[in-house]
């Protein structure tokens, strides 16, 4: 069954009196435990689509259903709640809080999810261990390498046990070795049963995924599932 279903999604901006169709009637369904890459040149609407799937943005028109919940009808509080419970974000620029330790960074979604302190700490420690940072829990981001920072971000995305993990150019700011390590983590997460959506413009990154959606001018140009 489909976990995510986008039907006739339009996102239209008005830039200087001119209509810009960032998403121009997109239909996508994503099932549980899929490993999906969204590709396309810049300006194709892939970021907008990712924001839409990540419930950071709502469509101008169309229906977005996430595990049976109508996202397109939600207010800011409900969107915050669904992001907190069901979505784990991994960003190109890591987006860690610079003054907080790795452990504390990973705890933040749990704080907003109102998880008890002792439980929170053990969950965060577990998530950091699962990405191989058990010995770096009390380091601040500036004391970690790029690859380590991204692993903290992945731990943060995982800690709430979300329905999907959304990664926006996760290796874009990393050297190739760190990039490979990060992709290995994503592969392993997929093996473990997680649903992963990658946004990338690198073919070799997209190759890790089992399905690729190519966008062009706000429309789905191509939707290919690789033979598993």
């Amino acid at each position: 069954m489909s976990m995510i279903s986008l039907k006739e999604i339009y996102k239209i901006y008005n830039v200087g009196g001119e209509e810009v169709r960032a998403l121009d009637g997109v239909d996508v369904t994503i099932g549980e435990n899929e490993y999906l890459a969204i590709m396309g040149p810049s300006g194709s609407g892939k970021s907008t689509l990712m924001n839409m799937i990540g419930c950071l943005d709502t469509p101008t028109s169309g229906i977005y259903e996430f595990e049976g919940e109508m996202v397109n009808e939600m207010d800011d509080n409900q969107l915050a709640s669904i992001r907190n419970r069901k979505i784990g974000f991994v960003f190109q620029t890591f987006n860690l809080l610079p003054k907080a330790t790795a452990q504390h960074n990973v705890e933040i979604p749990l704080i907003y999810g109102n998880v008890r302190r002792d439980l929170r700490q053990s969950m965060a420690a577990g998530a950091l261990e699962s990405v191989g940072l058990g010995d770096r829990m009390h380091h601040k981001p500036n004391e970690l390498s790029g690859g380590q920072r991204q692993r903290v971000a992945i731990a943060r995305a995982l800690v709430n046990n979300p329905s999907i993990i959304l990664a926006d150019e996760p290796t874009g700011n990393l050297d190739s070795k760190s990039g490979r390590e990060i992709m290995e983590i994503f592969d392993a997460l997929h093996q473990a049963g997680n649903t992963i959506i990658l946004v990338t413009h690198e073919d070799y990154i997209a190759k890790h995924a089992h399905r690729t959606i190519r966008l062009f001018d706000g429309k789905v140009e191509e939707d290919i599932s690789a033979a598993a």
């Binding site: 950071l56 987006n95 109102n114 008890r116």
Partner: protein, 404 residues
């Protein structure tokens, strides 16, 4: 919800500590405001206590018949030209008045007092009768007051105030010892308990009481005279009326003329004091409000800067599931934290200030006022933090995440 509260508090503290100088400068308005309000309160509470004590000295049921009005708008020279109060009228009032309980004539003169090598200048020497002891609220600490016969005769006996006792008889017992008042030798027969300063102006303890007969003989025609009358406290108005009528008769004031004497009591002091208190309170309140408003604007301004600087952080927090309300709470908490720290600093300074004021008259910082000050800081924090926090709460997560 409590963990979120703690998290917000932690964020606030680390943000404030990360920008120590900025936080301090930002909070300065609040510091000054709280300093003003607590210092003013401390001052007033100290004044209150000092005033109550001074009023105790005057007594609430004593009328002071004098040439000069204590308060009023009579010309000074007009009062000066009035005939002096006659000592002998005291006896007439005592005999005839229905309301007077005790009547004591007083005659005052300032002179120097000597014992051996030590001397004190500007000592108030009061001549009076034994009834003075019944009218005065001050108790005799050591020895005794003089008797009726001593007060009429020219006995050279003296009751000394604490300042005199401390300075001339350091560790000795003064009773029975001799001292010189002006050019005359007196024997000390009593000491008055410590009374402190009158309205913080002059010491009530730098005085000597001697029999009026002696005073008249040795220091007469110098200084001034008056009559102190203690009446039934519930009959103050009737007593004033009666004594005024008697004094007019005794001083031959024609029915159409104004009184050529004054009937003073403590009430006008209270009225004057209430006005002074209002002036101090009003000034303090004005400074407080002004600095809190200015301080609040400063805090609002810096909070806008903070929100701008931390736009990215707000975006991250929103992406991770913070609702607009949670973001609002976070920045409100930060603004309140700055204000509370400012308030605490202001109170600390005020407390230090009150220790200094305490050197001059007894004062302490009232606890209720401290609580009010902290409450006020919180209010300033919330009010000035509201607009910036609302702006933070309303930020679009995508724009915030993209913000460089």
């Amino acid at each position: 919800m409590f963990s979120l509260f703690l998290e917000n508090f932690r964020i606030s503290l680390s943000a404030v500590l990360a920008n120590k100088m900025r936080s301090l400068l930002t909070a300065l308005g609040v510091v000054i405001g709280i300093l003003a309000v607590t210092l003013m309160g401390t001052l007033i509470s100290g004044l209150d206590r000092s005033f109550e004590k001074s009023m105790e000295f005057l007594g609430k049921d004593v009328l002071y018949i004098r040439k000069f009005e204590w308060f009023g708008n009579k010309e000074w020279w007009e009062m000066r030209n009035r005939p002096n109060i006659k000592i002998k009228h005291a006896d007439v009032l005592r005999d005839r008045s229905q309301y007077a309980q005790y009547v004591a004539p007083v005659s005052e003169w300032y002179t120097s007092v000597k014992r051996g090598e030590n001397d004190i200048t500007g000592v108030r020497v009061t001549g009076t009768t034994d009834e003075y002891a019944m009218i005065s609220t001050a108790e005799i600490d050591k020895g005794r007051f003089f008797s009726n016969s001593e007060s009429r005769s020219g006995s050279r006996v003296a009751i000394i105030g604490k300042d005199i006792a401390d300075n001339l008889f350091e560790n000795e017992n003064s009773i029975g010892k001799k001292l010189r008042i002006g050019n005359y030798t007196f024997r000390v027969i009593g000491e008055v308990e410590k009374q402190g300063k009158f309205l913080g102006m002059f010491s009530l303890d730098k005085q000597i009481i001697i029999p009026i007969g002696t005073h008249q003989r040795l220091f007469t025609r110098r200084g001034w005279t008056g009559i102190n009358v203690k009446v039934d406290g519930t009959q103050m108005d009737n007593a004033s009326e009666e004594l005024t009528a008697m004094m007019r008769q005794l001083r031959h004031v024609r029915p159409t003329d104004e009184n050529n004497f004054a009937l003073n009591k403590q009430d006008p002091f209270k009225e004057q004091y209430a006005m002074i208190k209002l002036a101090i309170g009003g000034t303090g309140l004005f400074i407080t409000i002004l600095s809190l408003v200015v301080g609040g604007i400063g805090i609002a301004n810096i909070m806008f800067v903070t929100v701008k600087e931390r736009t990215r952080e707000i975006g991250i927090r929103k992406a991770l599931g913070a609702t607009p309300k949670m973001i609002l709470a976070q920045f409100l908490m930060e603004s309140v934290t700055i204000c509370l720290l400012g308030g605490l600093l202001g109170m600390g300074l005020a407390w230090g200030g009150s220790l200094i004021i305490d050197q001059y008259f007894p004062s302490d910082m009232p606890l209720g006022l401290a609580m009010t000050a902290l409450g006020l800081s919180t209010v300033v924090g919330v009010v000035s933090g509201l607009a910036p926090s609302y702006k933070a709460a309303k930020l679009d997560p995508i724009d915030a995440l993209r913000y460089e």
